[in-house]
């Protein structure tokens, strides 16, 4: 597998897009990964599932606006340069 930096950027954009499209109420709550279902006890260490839910929620919140910008740039560039 020969990677270039361009393919790394492509992979990163695709993965972050994939995490951002997971809808909160239609999908994540249905499979028990909603944002309000992860709060365990307070003194206890959060398990892996809680950390993962936290991560998905924070990625969706933080990357929403930058992803709009980056996706628009990608669309324009791919239309122009193939």
């Amino acid at each position: 597998m020969a990677f270039t930096l361009y393919s790394l950027i492509q992979t990163a954009i695709l993965c972050v897009n994939a995490v951002a499209v997971l809808h909160e109420e239609r999908f994540l709550s249905k499979i028990g990964w909603g944002a309000d279902q992860g709060i365990g006890g307070f003194g206890d260490e959060p398990g892996i599932k809680a950390q993962l839910m936290n991560l998905i929620r924070s990625v969706r919140t933080v990357m929403r606006v930058p992803l709009i910008i980056v996706n628009s740039i990608c669309i324009v560039l791919l239309l122009l340069f193939g």
């Binding site: 020969a2 990677f3 930096l5 790394l8 206890d44 260490e45 950390q51």
Partner: protein, 307 residues
């Protein structure tokens, strides 16, 4: 040719007047006895080069040029250079703290020799603890267990050059292949560091492994790769597999012993014992997975070079 040099020298005393921010261990201060002799020697060689009359001594470089215009140009150039340097520093320090990076490059020859020996033969080393000094870790100069970024960087560049040479021996060389090899290796390092960061975050391991530490530990495998490729080139396919086995075992041992101190023994302060049973197992898994990943990637990145 002389003007920029003297402009550079003019900024040096100003830079030395402000001491490095608070860390006396980072670099030894050799500036106390250095500059007078250094400057004098430089000025005298500069004089002999440019042919300006000698005997001016080191009374300051303003009397160097008799022409006031050239004088003004030198001062302007040096002030521009300082401004540019400050601006670049400010921009870079917004993304990563340069001081933290400087810590990783504070190495000396003795450390590099010992660390290379440790990477190739870690079985006799007894004490794997990173020693601390008033709660910052010791610089690599004072502690052989501290991670550094000098060896990984140099090993990475050496690996790229060696890959070019190996491909040239097989008559498959072209400049694009070199760039491809370099970016492939870089991407694998980035992937490994990201996966490790993700793993450490998911398991809530509160260790003091920063991103640079992980880059350092992930870059140590390039030393093994260089050794493997060299043996493969010199001794053929058998030598390649023997060297691969040797450097894989040494590297796995090194990674497990180094990360064991950091990952497995950094328990959160309030674990009363309820969740303690699951955690050490997961931490062990992540340490072993990191170690097991090294031979795979060494084989993957070097097999095509030694056909």
């Amino acid at each position: 040719m002389d003007v920029p040099h003297h402009g550079y020298r003019a900024t040096k005393p100003r830079a030395r007047a402000a001491p490095p921010s608070g860390d006396p261990l980072l670099f030894e201060d050799t500036s106390s006895s250095g500059p007078p002799m250094g400057h004098q020697g430089y000025y005298s060689s500069g004089y002999s080069m440019s042919g300006v009359g000698g005997g001016v001594g080191n009374s300051g470089m303003n009397e160097l040029f008799t022409d006031p215009m050239a004088n003004a140009a030198v001062m302007y150039g040096s002030s521009l250079a300082t401004q540019g340097k400050d601006m670049v520093n400010k921009e870079i320090s917004r993304f990563m703290s340069v001081n933290k990076l400087k810590y990783f490059f504070a190495v000396d020859t003795k450390y590099v020799m010992k660390k290379l020996l440790l990477l190739m033969f870690p079985y006799t080393h007894q004490d794997w603890e990173v020693r601390y000094h008033r709660d910052t870790p010791f610089t690599p100069r004072h502690d052989v267990n501290a991670p550094d970024l000098y060896i990984p960087t140099m090993a990475f560049i050496t690996y790229i050059l060696l890959a070019g040479m190996a491909l040239g021996i097989q008559k498959r060389f072209s400049p694009e292949v070199l760039g491809l090899c370099a970016s492939t290796a870089l991407v694998w390092v980035i992937i490994e560091v990201l996966v490790m960061l993700l793993g450490l975050y998911l398991l809530t391991v509160h260790s003091d492994l920063s991103t640079f530490d992980l880059i350092a530990y992930s870059g140590y495998k390039y030393v093994g790769m260089i050794f493997t490729v060299l043996c493969g080139l010199l001794f053929g396919s058998d030598g390649y597999f023997i060297a691969l086995a040797w450097s894989s075992c040494a590297l796995m041992f090194f990674i497990v012993r180094s990360l064991r101190m950091k990952i497995l023994s950094s328990f959160p302060p309030d674990s009363v014992g309820t969740a303690a049973s699951a955690k050490p197992r997961m931490r062990l898994y992540i340490t072993v997975a990191t170690a097991a990943f090294q031979p795979i990637i060494i084989y993957w990145l070097t097999a095509h070079l030694v056909r």
